[in-house]
Amino acid sequence: MGKTTRREFIKKSGFTLVTVGLSGRAFMRHLAMAANSTLTQAAALSENDRTLVVIQLAGGNDGLNTVIPLSGQNASLYRQFRSTLEIPEGEILSIGTDAGGTGLGLHPSLAPIKELYDQGRMGVIQSVGYPNPNRSHFRSMDIWHTANPDRPDATGWLGDYLDAAFPSNDNPLIAVSLAGGRLPLTLRADRIAVPAIGNVETYQFQTDPRFPGDAQNRIQTFLALNQEGAPQRVLYEQIRETALEAFESSVTLQQGIQRYTPDPNITYAANNPLARAMQQAAQIIAGDLGTRILYVSIGGFDTHQGQANRHAQLLGYLADAVNTFYRDMQRLGKDDRILMMTWSEFGRKVRENGNQGTDHGASAPQFVFGTPINGGIFGEHPDLTDLSSVDDTKFTIDFRSIYATILERWLEVDATELLGGSFELIPFL
């Protein structure tokens, strides 16, 4: 959709408004121009059609059993600290040696993404974290969501990007959350409202099927009731605008997703919740709806007990979903404009607890995937002889370096202003 106003959009869709007294103020919000920052000007010059897919691994993924040391003192310490949870050496999928000389391998459940690694389509970023690690799920998630370890604020790092890069956005699907109907803090913005979509099929405004002749009356009345502003009531206004956005984005979405036809050779596993979400991401991408950010999430990584089977299953979901989605993008000819990244709020304790599980830890590896990336290992495995006072690995790569690299080299905006500081870029792009 081009740069039409919301009111024009609704007219074009055939939903003419019947009543008097429309304020239209809601439609003006997105027309407000951002402050005259260099960032905005840069963004205006760099309209690209790239999409970022964010994959959240909620609960704190055990990094040490995701990317596993295979050689040197790290390998022997790993086996010592993980007396019941160690992965047998013969099952680990070797991916070579990092710059520090430690041989590394992936958890056996990650075989489907090892394929991408072997094609140079996957980056392993080691020991990612931030200073003074917080071991609260919720605080640490907020830190990652907002890129602010000192005091997480109300908008997310990608919400800030959207506000800055699209000051006059009219696309109701410029970014989409497919995280079970929830809108993650990462995508919360001041001006741009990001839709959360629980299920693309049911994302529609329904009326009474017994009286189809009255459906237009009802839809027009619904729109009219949500037109009349009450500027002094902030809460009311946000609710009212969201109702209009819900309607508008649902109409656009339903038109767009018709363009996706599944391929019989590419199957998103029905029992894999992440794969189901990523199939919906594929539908949106196939619809050419101008979506720049897609967000999916899978939970369950908080493995305080009985970790082995559950962790293997979750990593299997991740690897299978990413592999399937990647092949689907190749099939659709879209893979060169898709970048995927993972994040998780923290890694887990190096030393397993007494219940075949692991408690909350600190730094951990993260992944990026896609045709455009330079594959390989970035950074070094954490030194297991040098742990913090509560037995955690020490981070070597700040998570905001990943964000900065993606903002600068993929979304092509100035990361310094958005992240409130400059961070070393990582050469995966």
């Binding site: 049911t202 099927p209 009255d214 009311y236 819900a246």
Partner: protein, 517 residues
Amino acid sequence: MPLDKYDQIAHLLRRAGFGAHPDEIEQKVARGLEATVDDLINFEKYPDVEPDEDLVSMLDLPVDEFNRMRGTFIGGLERWWLNAMITTKRPLVEKMTLFWHNLFATSIAGLPDPRQMYLQNENFRGNFEPETGQIMRPNPRSPFPLGNFRLILEYLTKDPAMLFWLDNWLNRKLNSEVGTNENYARELHELFSMGVEDVVAKVPNYTERDIRQASRALTGWTILRGRRNQSTFPRQFVFDARNHDFGPYEHLGQRGGTNADFIFDNIVRHRNPGQQQSAVGRFLGYRLFIFFGYDDPEPEIINALADVFDGAHGEQPYSIRNMLRTIFTPGNVVSEAFYSERAFKAHVKSPTEYIVGAFRLLNFDRQSGEPDSLSKNRLLVRTLINAMIGMGQYLLFPPDVSGWKEGLNWINTTFDLARFNFANAIATGLQARQGGIDVDRIMDQNDLRGASASEIVDFFARLLLQAPLSPGQRQTLIDYLNAPSENATENTPRNFVNMKVRGLIHLIMTMPEFQLS
């Protein structure tokens, strides 16, 4: 403009309960505000909700047999709870049961047996004894639902569902730093009692080491397993001395203790240096006020509630009932805020409030003076569960241990569409015999059969919104009632009630005003 008596009482009953029919509001206006508050707080003078015999009988099934009926049980439990909220004579207890479920968020998804979740719900109502694993209606020893918070922490820690949900049943003596599992110890501090930071002073409440030391004191607090010759599900707390670490512990600046009592005492008494109020008092003051009042309350309000918690004026400390009385009884800084214009219609209804409120108002029988019970119709139960999932509040399945994020977090595009489509489903999809809205009874009991479009609109606005419509919105709704269907055969007088009045209910439930309480 101060709220008038009717508005004040309507407001109180929306917040301390799930909203009231105009007939109920008029009755309470006649009783007066103070008496109405007393009716809410001293809930014991009104009867408890009836247990559902189908659910109760399933508690005794052997595990194998029960597992075949798991889905039926969960559906029945959801319906029973929603029905309790709709028909209760103790609205504040129901509201607090929901509050505890969100504060001490536990999910069936993390439990070996969903029946533990039913026991937890009865625990939150004061109807469960973890030492015996039995439901007692009521349990005179229980501190729930409004009693002593120090004891509430103990009943929470012993709750069978909680023991599994955060793994404490596995937590055994390990070493002088930590038990074998710190999961529960962490959330006890972070989510259930004081939060990462002091709500007012914004300083850290505890250290990583406090968590690890607390986990030692909680070792051996576990579940009674495998009673011989009985295939019952795990439902009874037991203290396992052999696996307990008898201390001493170093926790929140204190050294000593032989058991978790030491930890609970330290928590409720904890004050950060230089602070007048306890960390827990402020945390609970904040949580209670945003639940009943409005978001971002002023520090004076939080501190006033914390003083009540601390017993700063000589009252019994740690009393939830005293805190609630302070919020609702006129004549103090907290209740002044609660009844202020800022608070009025400034609370986003949770999905539960949205659903329960709609049923309470629309299926209210003016003859009996009460709302109908929620039907057990399977189509209705499925509609309700799908609606709760779609709106983002699947009761008994919170997304994680931090519960649901409330306020504006209830409003996003997908949750909105789920609200609007649920309104369409119960107003126009499901008929009265399927558990939908009995529109014919509303028309008859309120003399609306020959009423004009404007009279019908005014009636439903007063019933559902309990606030006047703007002239523009009123006209929009009148126009809707008058606009003929495009399909001429739909325009019979017989269809007016089914098509237009049901449509009107759907539409009012999509208005911003209806999303607010």
